[in-house]
């Protein structure tokens, strides 16, 4: 399937008073048209910063996108988002790439009507008049499942429940029929039944609009239901990327194992117990010279402390950044040549 987005070796740092935060350290991934790519990883692993970097939303100072390419296959062909002028990027944002953020309480302006907040995107990108934008916005409200759109159009965010607000945010994100929607933990702040409704809504809209989705989440349960592929991030780097079933059945990175909570301990006494991931995330203030997961990894051997593993193909559309072959229970021969390289993407 043709690509929608192609990110190569993205590096973003924050120059803070405490030092340089190495938030994103060489992230690469592809997003295909109509595909849903889930990005998982613990807090601070650089998921949000990666997405914000693509669209010039990193607060600067202190942040700086320092390296990489991000080709977007948009209205004007294959263009590197990181090379675009601010004006060009503004046309892409909201117009061709929509955003849904985590907390629907704080992502809407409290003193503007939700109708206005949807319409302004339409007038900005579609050049619609106020009346046209209003009609369109009413339609969008109905599409995202808000009852009584005419009445709700004039309401303010505080008059909506969390789930309803998130529907409004989704309406804004899809208002200009984008090619890609980036959803940054869109269900984390909602309670469970509402989460399920929002996931359903996304599935429906995705089919209807044929949009590619990047879905950032902590929740591997949601991932199984919505994603085609999964990118696992750790310490601002990709740890593993695979088709969703493949990842669940054959996780190749010890960290992914840990996340899935299915990793039996090596020592026999506790072998029945499932473990959660012990230890703390890497300190992003220190420049990384070895595998960022080595501290917490049971399989770390000498090489893991000497080099940073690169993403290596290990199966069909499956890549992992690890020197240890979990299935063979032995260090990989060579990370660069990889294991059974049955093919790249």
């Amino acid at each position: 399937m043709p690509k929608a987005l192609e990110v190569r070796d993205l590096v973003t740092r924050f120059y803070t008073l405490d030092g340089v935060v190495n938030a994103v350290n060489g992230v690469s991934f592809d997003l295909h048209e109509r595909e849903t790519l889930a990005i998982v990883g613990e807090s601070g692993s650089g998921k949000s910063v990666t997405m914000m970097s693509l669209l010039g939303l990193i607060p600067s100072p202190p942040g700086k996108v320092e390296q990489g390419e991000a080709f977007f296959y948009g209205a004007s062909g294959r263009r590197d988002l990181l090379q675009m002028s601010p004006e060009e990027l503004r046309d892409v944002r909201g117009g061709q790439i929509g955003f849904v953020f985590q907390d629907p309480i704080s992502t809407l302006n409290p003193i503007l009507t939700i109708g206005e907040q949807i319409s302004e995107t339409l007038t900005r990108h579609r050049g619609l008049t106020r009346d046209e934008a209003r009609d369109q916005a009413l339609e969008l409200l109905a599409q995202v499942g808000i009852p009584d759109p005419k009445l709700r159009y004039k309401n303010y965010p505080f008059q909506f429940s969390g789930g309803m607000r998130q529907r409004v945010v989704i309406a804004i994100a899809i208002s200009c029929t984008p090619r890609v929607v980036i959803a940054d933990e869109p269900t984390t702040a909602l309670d469970v039944t509402v989460q399920a409704q929002i996931v359903d809504l996304f599935r429906r809209l995705r089919e209807m609009l044929g949009v590619a989705v990047i879905w950032i989440t902590h929740d591997l349960g949601v991932v199984a239901g919505i994603a085609d592929r999964v990118l696992v991030m750790y310490g601002g780097r990709p740890a593993e990327i695979a088709l969703v079933d493949d990842l669940y059945e054959h996780p190749q990175h010890p960290y992914t194992h840990g996340l899935l909570g299915a990793l039996p301990r090596l020592d026999a006494r506790e072998s029945r117990r499932l473990v959660s991931i012990k230890g703390t995330p890497p300190d992003l203030l220190l420049p990384m010279k070895h595998c960022p997961f080595a501290w917490r990894c049971e399989y770390a051997h000498d090489r893991c402390w000497e080099e940073i593993p690169a993403l290596t193909p290990v199966g069909v559309r499956h890549q992992v950044a690890c020197f240890y072959d979990l299935e063979a229970h032995a260090p990989r021969q060579s990370a660069s040549e990889g294991g059974p390289s049955n093919g790249r993407e």
Partner: protein
């Protein structure tokens, strides 16, 4: 905006604010009534120390201080409602018109101070908030610090010394020509300006960091739209309330400045009335000032509700 105004008027919110103000005003009246009688003998309080016994007795009778307290209170309230606080002891004419005569001077001074504070303070705060660390920001923060830390009586004297006595640009006292207002208004406005700079700056910084501003950027809106529509309107909320409160203070609390500059306003009159033990006049001044401040607060609350729907529908 006018729809918002209409809604604000209709909502419970406004009604409850009006009731609140009326209750407060009644409280002020009670306080003023009690304060004069708290020493036990209001006649002794109002008469000169060397007045003879018969004089005091006659005065007490004439003022009705011998009647039961509730009767006195009833008389006081029914008078107050129509603005009648009795005759000024000093001028021997009704007290309230004397107060009203002084109102324009006080309003002029407070308004001039406020306009200066807003016209200088808001832009400085905005520039500082949008470009923290810039030259203008440093200047604004310095002025804010200065305005909030320099004692106003000292500033007034320095200004008089320099701009009135040495340079002769402005008169040092009185209210004879338009430019008389400049020095006292500056003294009055400077601390308020300082507060406005700080508040505006921090509000801009805070709002700019809000998630919904990030959302606005993610929608591809033009920076200009984001600043005016999303940032400024949110910044206006705390700003409006502070400006309202400060204007109230300026109207009610200009006593020092009016005295130093011999500004013929209500503050100056109050100082004189206290000196003359002219209690009817003091009472009229106190009640009228409270009325003005309460009315202003009501206006502020209205403006607040027009900008912020959460309050309108709250």
């Amino acid at each position: 905006m006018s729809i918002a105004l209409k809604e604000a008027l209709v909502q419970r919110y406004f009604l409850s604010k009006v009731i609140q103000s009326i209750v407060l005003l009644f409280g002020v009246l009670l306080l003023v009534f009690v304060m004069v009688r708290i020493t036990g003998d209001p006649a002794a309080l109002m008469m000169p120390r060397e007045a003879s016994q018969e004089h005091v007795e006659a005065f007490r009778e004439k003022m009705g201080f011998n009647d039961p307290v509730m009767v006195q209170f009833g008389r006081f309230i029914s008078g107050a409602i129509v603005g009648d606080f009795g005759n000024s002891l000093h001028f021997k004419t009704p007290a309230m018109p004397l107060v009203l005569q002084r109102l324009p001077a006080t309003v002029q001074l407070a308004l001039a101070g406020l306009v200066m504070a807003v016209v200088v303070g808001v832009p400085l705060g905005l520039v500082g908030g949008f470009n923290p660390g810039s030259l203008v920001d440093s200047l604004g923060r310095f002025l804010a610090l200065l305005g909030q830390s320099v004692p106003n009586f000292w500033l007034a004297l320095i200004l008089i010394l320099y701009f009135a006595v040495r340079l002769r640009w402005f008169p040092s006292f009185g209210r004879d020509e338009l430019k008389s207002v400049v020095l006292p208004a500056f003294v009055m406005g400077l601390p308020v300006m300082g507060q406005i700079v700080r508040l505006t700056r921090s509000a801009v910084l805070e709002i700019r960091g809000e998630d919904f501003i990030r959302t606005a950027h993610s929608k591809g809106l033009e920076p200009r739209t984001i600043y005016t529509k999303h940032v400024l309107r949110n910044v206006a909320i705390p700003l409006v309330s502070v400006i309202g409160v400060q204007f109230g203070y300026m109207l009610g609390g200009s006593i020092y400045i009016e005295i130093i500059f011999s500004w013929p306003g209500m503050g100056q009159l109050l100082e004189q009335a206290i000196g003359w033990r002219d209690f009817p006049l003091v009472q009229a001044l106190a009640v009228f000032t409270s009325l003005v401040v309460l009315g202003l607060n009501l206006l502020t609350d209205m403006a607040y509700a027009v900008i912020d729907p959460r309050i309108r529908y709250g």
